[in-house]
């Protein structure tokens, strides 16, 4: 009987002066909004079997892959768009979206010098120049620029270790046996509406395979960017860690200012075998729409990891500050005995942003453990929902879960909601869940003001403290970026 100590968070009166000061703070324009002028090859709007075939053909895919896509497409046609999440948006016209966009085909490149200088400039503006990444941080970057992988670094040094890190289209051609074995094995094409759509039209994505016993020597990273107007981006990521392998994977996103809503329906599949570990970190900062809630990305993502082997571990860390709508539940299926699932999340909604996010931890194996820490911050008119499922199966002897979800409210027009589902079928397991919701502490702001810290900085400090448990899970470079992002997304929001 482990009992929860109720967290009581103190909240004080609204101080209207503070509100004003904070209200006056600039509500900054989206700092990373710009459009790169590169000729891109875009398919006409609409979706039918021909479009699916066309995408497959463009990518020179083998016949079995085309068939798989078509199966997914046919299944998708029969499905209904889900409406259960706690988010509201105009109905998406799936025929009004272009499903393929790629920068004009260039010859294969071996070094950065050969990459289109325009592209490199884009990355520089993002603050993540490839050279710097390469030289300073030792991060290998598989840069995805509007769906097509354009530059892959560090591949040579990874190759020595036997690690495969390439675009998924390349993997389909070069490692069909791995793709056949694992693609769709965690998120089948029948899984849900957006996963089926993704399976039919996915443009590109990353593929990682870590061989038995290898510890990946560097953090692998992919930067996604949505560039062409009205192009849905359908990424597909597949990471496999063989017995005893370890990999840390980073995913980060920014996108330019747009008026039309863009749909992003990605699928991420992770597989860990015996004693393997995958750490997957995300910083998501896509265009959230303007202050009236116009535009912005719809981020409907299916992320799931399967701990297939004994003692394996999958850890999700996410910082979600962007997108008009975020709707995703990175999940872990804990099949192997003693396997571990973790989920650390910070989700920020400002202005008219909406987020319905959380996790699913499915405990199947014996002595499986899961930890969920979710921090939601709502400001402006934002609505932030935590929706999580903890399921302890009949055979999950000694399973253990700890869930904590805290919400912070920064305006009287925003909302914070929690929908935790707990299903326990095994008596030897222990499940704990606790949640708190409260206002940002006016007394804390006052305390910091007293010490000469501006209200803006004070809010940042408090928010950073609130999210600390999650940030400490991020790789160092990301943690710094995440703190900056949080500060930017909350500018002008308190009050």
């Amino acid at each position: 009987m482990n009992e929860i100590e109720e967290n009581k968070i103190i909240s004080e009166d609204t101080n209207s002066d503070d509100m004003k000061v904070l209200g006056d703070l600039t509500s900054s324009e989206y700092k990373w909004g710009f459009i790169t002028d590169i000729e891109s090859e875009t398919a006409a709007k609409g979706l039918n079997e021909d479009v699916v075939r066309m995408i497959s053909k463009k990518k020179n895919e083998p016949e079995w892959m085309t068939e798989w896509r078509l199966k997914a497409f046919r299944y998708w046609q029969k499905m209904e768009e889900p409406t259960w999440p706690n988010v509201h948006y105009p109905k998406i016209d799936f025929q009004d979206i272009s499903y393929y966009s790629a920068p004009k085909q260039k010859p294969k490149l071996n070094s950065l010098e050969e990459v289109d200088p325009e592209l490199l400039k884009t990355f520089e503006k993002l603050g993540i120049p490839l050279e710097e990444q390469k030289l300073l941080s030792g991060v290998a970057v598989d840069a995805v620029f509007d769906s097509v992988s354009v530059a892959t670094t560090f591949r040579e040094s990874l190759k020595e270790k036997g690690i495969i890190f390439c675009s998924i289209s390349e993997a389909i051609k070069e490692h069909p046996e791995l793709i056949k074995k694992y693609l769709g094995s965690v998120v089948p094409y029948t899984d849900n509406f957006y996963a089926s759509l993704n399976a039919a039209v996915f443009s590109d994505g990353s593929f990682v395979w870590i061989p038995k016993g290898v510890r990946c020597p560097m953090e692998l990273s992919t930067y996604f960017r949505i560039n062409s107007q009205e192009t849905g981006q359908f990424e597909r990521t597949l990471i496999i860690a063989e017995e005893g392998a370890y990999v840390s994977y980073l995913e980060g996103c920014t996108a330019p200012i747009r008026d039309n809503n863009q749909l992003h329906a990605a699928v991420v599949e992770l597989v860990t075998l015996d004693d393997a570990e995958i750490k997957y970190s995300t910083v998501q900062n896509w265009y959230p729409g303007d202050k009236e809630g116009k535009g912005g990305i719809y981020n409907f993502v299916t992320k799931r990891g399967a701990c297939r082997g004994k003692n394996s571990k999958i850890s999700w860390t996410q910082v979600e500050t962007g997108s008009a709508i975020t709707w995703k539940y990175p999940s872990c299926i804990l099949q192997g005995d003693n396997s571990i699932g973790e989920f650390y999340s910070v989700a920020v909604t400002n202005n008219y942003q909406q987020a319905d996010t959380g996790t699913k931890m499915i405990h199947l194996g014996k002595n499986t453990k899961s930890t969920v820490v979710s921090k939601g911050i709502s400001a402006g008119y934002g609505n932030n929902s935590y929706r999580g499922l903890i399921r302890i199966g009949k055979n999950a002897e000694g399973a253990r879960n700890y869930t904590q979800c805290d919400s912070m409210l920064m305006s009287d027009k925003c909302g914070a909601h929690t929908f935790p589902y707990i299903e326990v079928e095994n008596e030897s397991s222990k499940v704990e869940h606790e949640a708190t919701t409260s206002k940002i502490g006016e007394d804390q702001i006052f305390y910091l003001n007293q010490r000469g810290i501006s209200t803006e900085d004070a809010v940042n400090m408090i928010v950073n403290g609130f999210c600390k448990e999650v940030f400490k899970e991020l790789p160092m470079e990301f943690a710094v970026e995440a703190q900056k992002l949080l500060a930017i997304s909350l500018e002008g929001s308190v009050g």
Binding site: I4, V431, H433, E434, T436
Partner: protein, 447 residues
């Protein structure tokens, strides 16, 4: 298959309405009958909930629907002697006694006794006949029909408890209401329609005590409406100890005006499928709501508690504590919803649900849910699921306590938080006794 049962259940209950109407003997012109007829239309349109309905996700009602239950008023009533009711009552304190048999007021079994002037404690049918003006502004004004079960209760609403305490009166003795249900020749559908009104500055406490007479299947489908006016204090105890073949569904709908206090105690022992919906709406500031729940289940019992507190006004507080003890193949469901509306600043809302699983095959599905639209609030919820702590058990046993007793002590300690909140001392004792009786375990005396 489910849908077939759902559909035919609707048809069955709609088809019996004519027989029911004929039985009413010219009362079909009362205000109650308009309500019934509207509800019948709802019953035609609404279907019984399936697992696809989020509110009924974990509770399958198909086993209830496969029986053709007959509303009590058109079935044969069992004859029960007064001495026989004694065994079901809570004892050792003074109370006003009201007895219902199959949801129908049994005057000969009741002992209402002396009541302060203006206080009404009676059966709905009698009040509707003799004094409709005292209830027509309350009945069916709170409870909205949102599924076929409450449409069914409303369409056949005929009798039930009516308690009206006028302004300024504090009712010293609690009202003990014994609901005895029994199927004899027919499968009985008991449909109590209860109303509790506490006027300004009044205080009342009601003990609703549900029991079975015999061990046959029947179905209780109850609606209780509670009005707590300004400064009123209402304590509503529910203890449900029916047989394991019976089905029990209750919806409590309460409204609270400013400065009022509503304490709801929900203690469930029996029933094959039990579902409680306890909803409170705040309609004034400085309101206090307390929900306490304890559910024990064994065998194949299924107990589902849904609670809802609607914080619509500022400066209110709610506190909720639900504990479950599940044994054998039983299944528990808890769904606690709290909404804090945009205007409801300075809300404090706390909620806890804790469950112990005593056997390998018991299961629990719990969903504490917060929806918060105001910013100046303090809200928290917690949920735990676990088993009896091995180290604690070892500690007790190492002091020479036999295993069974050690287990019982831990169960007793677990339930204590809830039992301790019961304000009537003898009631506390008797509930404690019922826990061990129900779980077939060695009893631990209340201290």
């Amino acid at each position: 298959m489910d849908n077939m049962e759902h559909k035919s259940a609707n048809e069955w209950y709609v088809s019996k309405f004519k027989v029911f109407e004929d039985k009413l003997n010219g009362q079909s012109k009362s205000f109650l009958h308009d309500i019934r007829k509207n509800a019948l239309n709802n019953l035609v349109e609404l279907s019984f909930p399936t697992n696809k309905n989020e509110e009924w996700k974990y509770t399958n009602v198909a086993p209830i629907l496969k029986h053709n239950f007959l509303p009590a008023i058109i079935s044969t009533l069992p004859k029960i002697k007064k001495e026989e009711t004694k065994q079901f009552l809570f004892k050792n304190f003074d109370y006003h006694l009201v007895v219902f048999v199959n949801g129908l007021f049994a005057e000969e079994l009741s002992e209402i006794g002396h009541l302060p002037k203006g206080v009404i404690v009676d059966g709905l049918n009698r009040i509707a006949k003799n004094n409709p003006g005292s209830i027509d502004k309350y009945i069916n004004k709170l409870s909205k029909i949102d599924n076929a079960f409450n449409a069914l209760n409303t369409a056949y609403s005929y009798d039930g408890l009516v308690v009206i305490v006028p302004e300024g009166i504090v009712l010293e003795k609690p009202i003990q209401v014994l609901y005895l249900n029994s199927s004899k020749n027919d499968l009985v559908l008991s449909l109590p329609r209860n109303l509790v009104v506490a006027g300004k500055n009044s205080q009342v406490s009601v003990i609703a005590n549900y029991h079975s007479y015999g061990d046959k299947t029947y179905f209780s489908n109850i609606i209780t409406e509670v009005y707590a006016e300004e400064n009123a204090i209402v304590d509503l105890y529910k203890t449900q100890n029916e047989n394991d073949e019976s089905y029990h569904i209750e919806k409590v709908q309460a409204i609270q005006k400013k400065n009022s206090v509503f304490n709801h105690y929900n203690i469930n022992f029996g029933g094959a499928i039990v579902r409680n919906d306890i909803n409170t709406m705040h309609d004034g500031q400085n309101v206090e709501t307390h929900y306490y729940g304890l559910y024990l289940a064994h065998g194949k019992q299924h107990v589902d508690n849904h609670t809802f507190i609607d914080h619509a006004k500022p400066n209110c507080m709610s506190n909720e504590l639900y504990k479950g003890i599940l044994d054998d193949n039983s299944r528990g469901v808890f769904n606690g919803k709290i909404i804090v509306r945009q205007d409801a600043q300075k809300t404090n809302a706390y909620q806890q649900n804790k469950t112990i699983l005593l056997s390998k095959t018991a299961t629990i599905d719990t969903k504490p849910q917060l929806e918060i639209f105001a910013d100046d609030v303090k809200c928290s919820h917690g949920a735990t699921v676990g088993h009896l702590d091995d180290t604690s058990e070892f500690y007790i046993r190492s002091r020479g306590v036999p295993q069974e007793l050690a287990k019982s002590m831990l169960i007793r300690a677990f339930a204590n938080d809830v039992i301790d909140t019961v304000k009537i001392e003898p009631l506390k004792e008797q509930i404690n006794h019922m826990i061990f009786e129900h779980l077939h375990r060695v009893e631990v005396e209340n201290k």
